[in-house]
Symmetry: D2
Subunit: 340 residues, 4 copies
C-alpha cells in the first residue's frame, strides 16, 4: 500500500468519549490518524496507543503537543482541564476540537475568548455535535428557508435511561440541557436572555435529592420561547426530540422518523429524490467494508455466486415478461468454493 | 502532515456511479485513495483525475491495473465490460469491487465463476449495496434472530420518479428488480426457484411500449413468496420498501422511519439505548468536518463564543434551579472577531 | 318520555354477528329498534329478546316477517339460510340488510338476482361493511377525485390472530378474501376478470392441512392488479391494510394512522380543519352518554364542580397573562356532594 | 313505523354549536329527539324547528322548559346566559347538558354549585367533551392503569387555523386553554394550584394586540406540571395533541395516529384484536345508513349484484387454489336494473 498525507491528531483524554474519538479517527474519518494519545492514567493511554499502533502515549498534554507528527488536537479530558489544554494548543498554534463543556464556568470561558483573540485567528471548534446531526441540520435548513415563517417556540425533549453515577441537579443543566441551550441559539440564530427552571415532584426512578425531571424555559432576544424537558431517569432509552413552532407551520425531529412538517393542511415528510440519496449511506458503508476487508486480506460481502444467481433469475423473469406465465429458475450446483 | 499507509484503488468507469465512487473514496472512506481512473472517454478520465490530484488517468484498464500504487480495483464501467475487467484483475490477482450487474448474462457469469475458482481464492465483491443499508441490515438481523418465526412472504416496493432514457421493459427487470432478487436471497438465505411477471395496464406516465409498473413474484426453495412492485415512473420520488411477513409478526422498512415491527399485539420500533448510538452519525460528521476544515486551513462550526454563551446560560439556569424564578442572562458584547 | 316513529327491525340469526347487530340497533342506531328476533335456537332467541325488552322471539323467519311492527329485516343467519330468508322478505316486500356472503354459490345468487328484478325494485343491501369504514371511504374519495391519476395496483393485507375453528383453505377465500374482492371492485369501479391463488409453505401456526398464508392476485377489466395477502394465523392481532398505487402517487390505509398519501415528493396526511371535525366523535359520544345516563335516571361526566374549578384557573391565568409571573389558584373546599 | 319511547330534549341556543347538537340528536343519537328549540333570534329558532319537524320554537327558555314533551335540556347559548338557564332547569328539576364554559366567572359558578346542592341531587353535566374523545379516553385508561408509573408532566398543543373574530388574549385562555385545564385535572385526577402564562413575541399571523401564541404552565397539587401551547393562528388546521411523561414511559395522542406509547425500549401502538373492534365504526355507519335510506324509502349501498359478483370470484379463486394457475372469472351481463 502506498503512503498518503494525513492529519496527525493528538487526543487528550482517553475516557469513554476520548476512546470513541480515537476509534473514529482511525476507522471512520478520511484523511486523519491518531498521532498521540494523552491521559494522566498512563496505563490507559498506553493501552489505547497499543491498540491503534504507531502512536505515542503521553501523560502530559504539553509534551504530546510538542511531539513530531502532531498537526491538531482533540480535547476530550474532563471540563476543568480544558482551559490549560487549549492554552497549550494556542502556544503551538494548533487547531483544536474541544469537547463540551468548553469550560465549567464563564470566567474561564472569557479568558479563552481573550486568548484566542490574542492569537489573531480562530483555532477552536467546540464539540456541540448536535449541529452535525442530520435531523437538526434539516430542521435548521427548513427554519432558515423561511418557508414556515418566523420560529415562535421550540419544544425540546431530552430523555436518558438513567442518570450517570454521582449526577447532581446542576449537572442535569450543565451537562445535559447545555445541548439544548446551544441548539436553541443555533437553530434560531438568537441569544438567550432569560431562563426559568421548574421542578415538578421528582420521579420515583430518581435517586433521593436529584431534581428529575425538570422543565427549563429559555427566552431569546428574538422574542422566542424554548422549553426543555430534561428527564434523566426515563428508563426506556435515550430520546432527543425537538419541535419548532413557526408562524405558518410546525416541524419535528427525533421521533423515529424523518423531519416531520405540518403546514398548509398536511403533516408529513419528504421522499428522497433518487437512489444515490436514498442509499448514500449504504454505498459509503459498502466501500468502507470492502476497503477494510481488503486491507485485512479478506473478501466479504456478496460475490460472483450471487452475481450469477441474480443473472439467472433475471433471465427467467424476462422470459416470463415476454412469454407470460411462471418460469422456473435452474442454477448450476453451488461450488463448495463459495460456501454453503 | 504525515504520511500513512493507504489502499490505492483504480476506478474503472467514470460515469455517474464511477465518479461518485471516486469522490467517496477520496472524501469519505478511511484508509483508501484513488490511485488511477480509467475511462474510454479519456477527457472525462483526465478531468476526474485532475480533480482528485496525484492520480493517473488511463483509457485501458490493463494498463491501469499494471500501474504502480494500484492495490485494488473498483469496476463501475457498463455491464458488458465487466468480464474483461475482472479477468484482467484476476491476472494481477487484485481484489475487486464490481458494480452490479456482475455480467449481462449467465454465460459470462459462469465463466467468471470458473475463473475465480481457478485463481484459488475469492477476489470479487459484487456491488449489491442494499446489503449494507442500515434498514436492510436491521431487518436481516431480526429475521435471523428467529424472534418472529420463519419468514413466509416478502412484499417489496421499488419506485423511481422516472425511467432513465432508453429504458426497456427488460431493463426494469435486469437493472431494477435485480436488487430485490438479491435482497430476497440474502434476507431469506434461500435461492429463487421460479418467477412470474405480471403486467397491468401501463401507467400514462410511462413512454409508449414500456411495461410499467410490473409485479414480479419470486418463489424460493424454502417455500417463501417474494412479490416485487417495480414502478419506474411514479413521479413522486425514489422509494424502496420491504415488508417481511413471518409466522408470528411482520417487519417493515423504507417508510420514512426506522424498522417497524408488528408482533404480540403491538406495532412500533425501538428507542436508541444511549447518546453514542443516537448521535453516532453526528459525531462522525463532526470530526470529519473538523478534519476537512483543518486540512483546508479553516475553522468552521461552533467556537469559543458559543462555549462561553452556553456557560453563561447554565450559570443562570442553576441559579433559577436553586433559588426559583426567572433569571436573566447577561453576555459580554460579542467581539467582531467572532462574526455577527 | 314521549313517543317517536321508529323503524322496527326483525333480526334473523342471533349468533355473534346477529347479537351484535341487535345491541347496535338498540343502543347506537338513531331511528330504529329491534321489533323481532329469529333463531332456530329458540332459547337463544328468547334470551336476546328478553334483554332487549318489548320484542318478540321467533323460530321461523316467515312468522317473524309477518308480525306487526316489523318494517325491515336484517339477515345474520348462516349463509345457506340467506336465500330462503330473502325470498320471504321479498314476499312481504320488506327492505333487507343481508350479511355477507349473500349466498354460498353463484347459482343461488343468480336466483336472487332474478327474484329481486321480478319484485320490480331493489330491496337488498349486502353487508360489505368495509364500504362504510372511514378509512376506505377516504381512500375511495381520493381515488375518485383523480388527484393521483388512474389506479394501477392495489396491495391488500388481511391478517387475523387465528383461524376460526373448522376453517378450511376455501373458507379463507370465501369468508375472508371475499371482503377484498368486493373492496377491489368498489374502490376501482371495475369488475374482476381473473384470479390466481399462490400458496407458500404454510406457517407453523396453521393447523395441518390449512393453506395459510395465501397470496391472491386479482385482475380487473380496467387492467389493474389487486394482490391480497390473507394470513389467518398471524397471532399478533387483526390487521387490514390497503395501498393503492396510482399513476402519480400512492395512498395507504390501515396502518394505525389516517390515510397516508405519497405524492409530489412528500408523504403524509391531512390535518383536520376545525374542532367540529376533530371532535365530531367526542361530541357524538358525549351526547349519547348524557342521553343514556338521563334515561337511566343518572348523572355522569363532568359537573358543576369541574366548571367551577376551570373558571377559577382561568381567572388566575388571565391575571398572570396581564400582570406577569406565577399566580396561585385557590378553590373553595370541594363539597362532599360532588364526591372525592 | 311504530312508536318508541324517546327523550325529548329542549336545545337552548341555535348558533353554530346549538344547531350542530340539534342535528346530532335527531340524526345520530339513539333514544332522543329534539322537542323544543330556543333562541332570542326567533327567526333562527323557527328555521331550525322547521328543519327538524314536529318541534316547537321558543324565544324564552322558561316557556320552553315548561312545554309538554320536554324531558331534558341542552344549553348551548352564550356563557353569560348559562346561569339563568340552569336555574330555570333546576326549577323544573330537568337534567341538563351545559356547554362550556359553565359560567364566565367563579362567582356565578359558586352560585350554581350552591343551587344544585339545594336541589339535593346532581342534574348538570358540563360540556367538556374531550373526556369523550377516544384518544383521551385511551390515554386516561393508560395513566390510570399505572403501567407507566406516576405522571410527571403533560405537554399539550392546541392549534387553530385562525382566531374567531373579536377574540382577545383573555378569550384564548377562557375559551381555548379551558379545555386543557379540565383535561389536565381529569387525566391526572389532581387540582391545579398555580398557573403562569408566558407570551413570546406574537406571530405575524395574529391581529395587532392579540397575544398569540402563548405558553401556559399549570402546577397541580400532585406535584405535576402541565404546559399548554395555545396558538390560535397556526393557519394549517386544527390540531390538539397531548403527551404524558410518566415515570417509566411516555404516551402521546393527537398525532394523526393512535395512542403512541414509548416504554421499555420501544415506541408504538396496539393492533386491534379482532374485526368487531377494527370495524366497529363501519358496522355502526352501515346500519345507520341502511336505516336512514330505508326510512327515506331508498336502497343504497352494495346490492345483490355485488353479492353475486363476489360469489363468482370466490368460485374461481377456490378453483385456482385447488388446481393451481390462473382462472378466469365470467359474469352474466349486468342487468340495467342494477345500474351501470
Amino acid at each position: 500500500m502506498t503512503q498518503q498525507s494525513s492529519l496527525g491528531v493528538a487526543v487528550i483524554g482517553t475516557g469513554r468519549m476520548g476512546a470513541d474519538h480515537v476509534r473514529r479517527i482511525n476507522e471512520v474519518t478520511s484523511g486523519a490518524h491518531v498521532a498521540a494519545v494523552v491521559d494522566l492514567d498512563t496505563d490507559r493511554a498506553e493501552a489505547v496507543a497499543a491498540e491503534v499502533g504507531g502512536c505515542a502515549a503521553f501523560a502530559d498534554p504539553a509534551e504530546a503537543l510538542a511531539a513530531p507528527g502532531v498537526d491538531a488536537v482533540l480535547v476530550a479530558s474532563p471540563g476543568p482541564a480544558h482551559e490549560a489544554a487549549l492554552l497549550t494548543a494556542f502556544a503551538h498554534d494548533l487547531p483544536v476540537l474541544c469537547e463540551k463543556p468548553l469550560t465549567p464556568d464563564t470566567a474561564a470561558a472569557l479568558r479563552l475568548l481573550e486568548a484566542e483573540q490574542r492569537l489573531g485567528h480562530r483555532r477552536v471548534q467546540v464539540g456541540f455535535m448536535r449541529r452535525y446531526d442530520r435531523e437538526y441540520v434539516r430542521l435548521k435548513a427548513l427554519l432558515d428557508s423561511g418557508d414556515l415563517g418566523r420560529p415562535l417556540m421550540l419544544h425540546n425533549r431530552h430523555r436518558n435511561p438513567e442518570n450517570p453515577p454521582g449526577f447532581t441537579s446542576a449537572m442535569a443543566i450543565n451537562d445535559s440541557v447545555a445541548h439544548e441551550m446551544d441548539i436553541t441559539r443555533w437553530l434560531l440564530g438568537q441569544e438567550v436572555t432569560a431562563v426559568t427552571v421548574l421542578r415538578p415532584r421528582p420521579s420515583g426512578n430518581a435517586p433521593e435529592g436529584l431534581a428529575d425531571p425538570q422543565l427549563v424555559v429559555l427566552e431569546t432576544d428574538g422574542g422566542a420561547l424554548s422549553d426543555v424537558e430534561i428527564y434523566l431517569n426515563a428508563r426506556y432509552g435515550y430520546q432527543v426530540q425537538a419541535e419548532a413552532v413557526c408562524e405558518h407551520g410546525t416541524a419535528r425531529i427525533g421521533d423515529g422518523h424523518d423531519l416531520l412538517v405540518t403546514a398548509a393542511g398536511r403533516w408529513g415528510g419528504t421522499v428522497t429524490p433518487g437512489y444515490l440519496e436514498r442509499f448514500e449511506d449504504a454505498y459509503d458503508r459498502e466501500v468502507q467494508a470492502w476497503v477494510d476487508a481488503t486491507r485485512r486480506g479478506e473478501v466479504t460481502g456478496p460475490g460472483i455466486w450471487d452475481g450469477y444467481a441474480v443473472a439467472a433469475i433475471c433471465e427467467a423473469a424476462v422470459r416470463s415478461q415476454t412469454e407470460g406465465g411462471r418460469v422456473e429458475v435452474h442454477l448450476v450446483d453451488r461450488p463448495a468454493f463459495y460456501g454453503a
